[in-house]
Structures are given as structure tokens and as C-alpha cells.
Symmetry: C2
Subunit: 285 residues, 2 copies
């Protein structure tokens, strides 16, 4: 997805939020904001939003000398959602269409997003998403693809959220045995995106036949970028590909054969999807 | 009020909005945004939000070579609200406490604000404000001051909105005869702020004993700034001073003896008032 000019002020809002997570020092906040603005002015804007976000969050880390501004926020959302795992597992098992319910709950988890939002209410969101009509709903196609698939590639989005992704994957396996599950996390911290440490902490290692792939957080050596040949190869090499969240949609929407699951959390994404902010999306492309 | 760092990305959002009002040319939008960012980086941020907004909107006008980006938007809101004048006038006259109803309707008009918002729904807002409890409510003090006053200084905010301000002033005069009404508008266009042309178009000249004062829109020769000695003198020289909207609150909150009427439309203002976004404010200071 092409960058929209609205992303430019939004990145600055994100950078300020990250700086405020780290410290109460207003001079530091101002320094971060000014350095981010300088970097944005120096940069060509023909990038995808996640590519430019990488630049922005690298500046935040460099100016504040803090490797993971969202560490505490991630820990909180991890623990919050982990507590709900048993009850939500039961809810899925007891429902008429367990796959549909698991899809709904996994998409609801996408509200845990410090990139697009300042605050979120995951409990309220789950209740909403369990009832609401999807703005784009390729569920039938998803079921068909699951029933034919033997390998799953899963692009994860945020920490916390991946507990609910685990529930979805377990529900998929109940329906159709898979030979391989490739679960993609970030190769290092950026915003509240899930990393290997989050996957370990949240029990994703318990999934059968799972392997973990690492994608770039913008720092050297953390993995391939979304629009790389490597990622294209991953996608080609799996039968079923699920992509969670806005960042992955922005970075992967040029590829084909993916199921995008997300809540549209900003007007730029909503407009690209011909949907409204707050809409629930299950889109096959 | 001191500038908050959140205002910096918000100014850029405003500049983009203004550029889009003028033209569909994305290259021009990008040029405006980049020039505004450069200007913001060059500027010291120890200003009030309206002072920095002046700088920003001056850049927009210079880069686009367009004196009044909001001209059409203002015309639309002027005509919309003007149509409702007779019905709202009756509503006020028939109500148990006409002054209270007029205050509510005038504050509802403050939703017509292209600085803080992208869209607004004035009809819905009037219905909401007619029923809702105010977050800060110095109505009793306002009534007392009206009953003692002989002169009124009224700082207007947006075009369209001033039709509803006219209703409020007429209701005040029904209660207490005034010797002088000084109605403050902008000395030239900025965002959708009311100018003398709007006041003329919307029938404000029909008010008895009214004179119009002009305040700066950031361009040379358009009038004094809010924090000037001249404006301080205006305030000292009137018995009753009413200030509408966020911009006037931001620029005039250092003065004393004013009634501030507004809807809190952004988190920066809300937090300064110890209120929430969307709250209705009638504050004496």
C-alpha cells in the first residue's frame, strides 16, 4: 500500500507516544519529535507506511537510547489476554461454528495496537466483534482454503493479540490437520509488535509442527522486509496464508493469495479498503 | 494556554486539510506539508497554539497562493445555520429558561470547527447539547453577571456558529438592556473563523448598539493578537466578556473575568480543562 500524506503527522503522534512511554521529560519528547520531523523531511515518501514507520521508530530508539519503548505496554497486554485464554477457548469450542467464532476473536485481538491507537478496550471489542457484521467477509473462501491446506503461513501483528491467534490456529487444526505452521514475528522490538520472546511467553511454542520466521523491525539483521523476495517465497511456499493487522496489510497488500484479517483503525486504511474506521475485515486477495 | 507537543502533528493535519480544500493536486498537498514542517522546525514552540496556527496557515496560503482555503466550507455552514435561525429563535422563546437554552444552542454551534475536526454534524450536536449536563457549568455566575452588565464584549469563533451567537446575544438583551455590544471577529480569513464579511452576511449588523472589533488572523494589519495590550484593554473596558471556542480559550485563558463557552474538541484542551473530549464547557475565569 502506498503511503498517504495523513501518515506523516500520524507517525509523529506515534513517536511522541513512544517517547512518553519512556520518560516524563518534556524536553526529551520535543527532541524526539524534532528529530523525527527532520528525518521525515529528508526522506522520500514513496515508501510503504511500515517502511517509513521503521525509520521513525529507529529515530525514537536512537534519541532516547531505549531499545524497546513499548516493553511495559506489551507485558501488560500479554498478561491481560493470557488470562482470558481458557474462557475464550471454551467459548469457541461451545459455539455453533467454532471456526467463525475463533476468526471473530482473533480479529478482535487486533484492537491491541499502539501504532494506530492511543487506548483500546479489548473486552469491549471482543463483545462487539462477536456480534457485528463484517464489512468485508470472505469467510466462505477461508473455510474452503483451510479444507484444502496442509501448510499455514501466519503473519502475526501485535503482542497480546497472538494469544488469540493461537486460539484461531488451534481451531483450524481441529478442523484440518496441518503438516507445517510457519508463524511470522518481528526479529526485534518495534511498537507493540509481537517478537519471538512474546511468542515464547504466550505459549505459541506449544502449537504442533510450528516454526517461527522473523521479519524486519527496520534494524539491520532482524529479517527480510515485507516486500522482499524472501517473503514472496514464503507466501508461494504455503497453501494458506493469513495476515493480521494494518501494518501487514500495508506492507503485504501487493502480494496475492492472502487472507487479511484486521480492524480498520485509521481513515487511510479504511479508505483503501472502501470501508469505515472501526470496520471488521476478512478479505481475500 | 501553552502549546502542547500534540499540537505539532495536529497543525500538519490542519494544513493538509486546507490544501485539500483548495486542490486535488497531491504534489501540491505534499509541498504544503513539507513547507509547514520546515516552518515548524524553524520556530520556537514557546507560543500559544493560535500563534503557531497563524504561522502554519500563512504558509498554506503562500504555497497555494490562495487567500481563503475555507471560503466554500464557510459559505456552506453559513447558509446551513442561517436557515435554522427562525425555528431556533422560537425554540428559545418558548423554553422555560430562554437564556439557558440560548447558551446551549450557542455552545452547540461551536462544533462547526474545521481547525479541530474534519467533519461535524450540527443538527445532532444541537440535540445532544440541549440535553447534556455541562462538564463545567458556571451558568449561575453568568446570569448574575448579565443582570449587572451594561456592556458586552463577545469573542466570536467560527462562521456559521455566529448565527447562534446572535440568538444568544438577542436573548441576553431580552433579559437585560445593554448600552454597547462589541463583537470581535477576525481581521482576515483563517480556517473557518468568522470575519466581518460573515457577520454582515449572517445578519449580525442587525443587533442594536453593536460595533465590530477585528483581531489578527496572523497577517500584518489585520488587528491585535489575543495576548496584546489592546485586547487586555478591550476586556477591562466591558462588564461582561464571553469567549467562544477552543482558539479563543487557548489565546485568552491567561486573562481574567471571561466566560468561556466551548465544546472540548481535542485531548489537549480537554486535559487543560480537566474534562473529556466532547464535553460541554461554560467556565468563568
Amino acid at each position: 500500500m502506498k503511503l498517504n500524506l495523513d501518515c506523516i503527522p500520524c507517525f509523529q503522534r506515534q513517536a511522541l507516544q513512544a517517547a512518553r512511554f519512556i520518560s516524563n521529560d518534556e524536553e526529551l519528547h520535543q527532541k524526539v519529535l524534532r528529530e523525527v520531523m527532520k528525518k521525515l523531511l529528508e526522506t522520500n515518501w514513496n515508501l510503504t507506511p511500515p517502511e517509513l514507520a521503521h525509520e521513525v521508530h529507529r529515530i525514537v530508539k536512537n534519541v532516547t537510547n531505549e531499545k524497546d519503548p513499548y516493553e511495559r505496554a506489551k507485558k501488560e497486554s500479554n498478561d491481560l489476554v493470557l488470562n482470558w485464554y481458557p474462557a475464550l477457548k471454551k467459548k469457541i469450542e461451545k459455539s455453533k461454528d467454532p471456526l467463525r467464532t475463533a476468526v471473530r476473536i482473533a480479529i478482535a485481538g487486533n484492537i491491541i495496537d499502539f501504532g494506530a491507537l492511543e487506548k483500546y478496550n479489548i473486552e469491549k471489542t471482543i463483545k462487539k466483534v462477536l456480534k457485528e457484521k463484517f464489512a468485508i467477509d470472505d469467510y466462505k473462501k477461508l473455510k474452503e482454503n483451510i479444507d484444502k491446506a496442509t501448510t499455514l503461513l501466519f503473519f502475526a501483528d501485535n503482542a497480546g493479540e497472538i494469544v488469540l491467534d493461537k486460539l484461531l490456529i488451534e481451531t483450524i487444526i481441529e478442523r484440518k490437520k496441518l503438516d507445517k505452521i510457519s508463524f511470522v514475528v518481528k526479529g526485534g522490538p518495534i511498537i507493540n509488535d509481537a517478537t519471538l520472546e512474546d511468542a515464547a511467553y504466550l505459549g505459541l511454542f506449544e502449537l504442533p509442527k510450528v516454526e517461527f520466521l522473523k521479519m524486519s523491525n527496520g534494524e539491520a539483521g532482524t529479517g527480510p522486509e515485507r516486500n522482499s523476495e524472501t517473503v514472496k517465497f514464503w507466501i508461494k511456499n504455503h497453501d494458506l496464508v493469513i495476515s493480521k493487522g494494518q501494518g501487514n496489510y500495508e506492507g503485504l497488500s501487493e502480494h496475492d493469495g492472502l487472507f487479511f484479517m484486521l480492524i480498520a483503525k485509521c481513515s487511510v486504511i479504511a479508505s483503501d479498503l472502501d470501508a469505515k474506521v472501526g470496520d471488521i475485515i476478512l478479505k481475500y486477495k
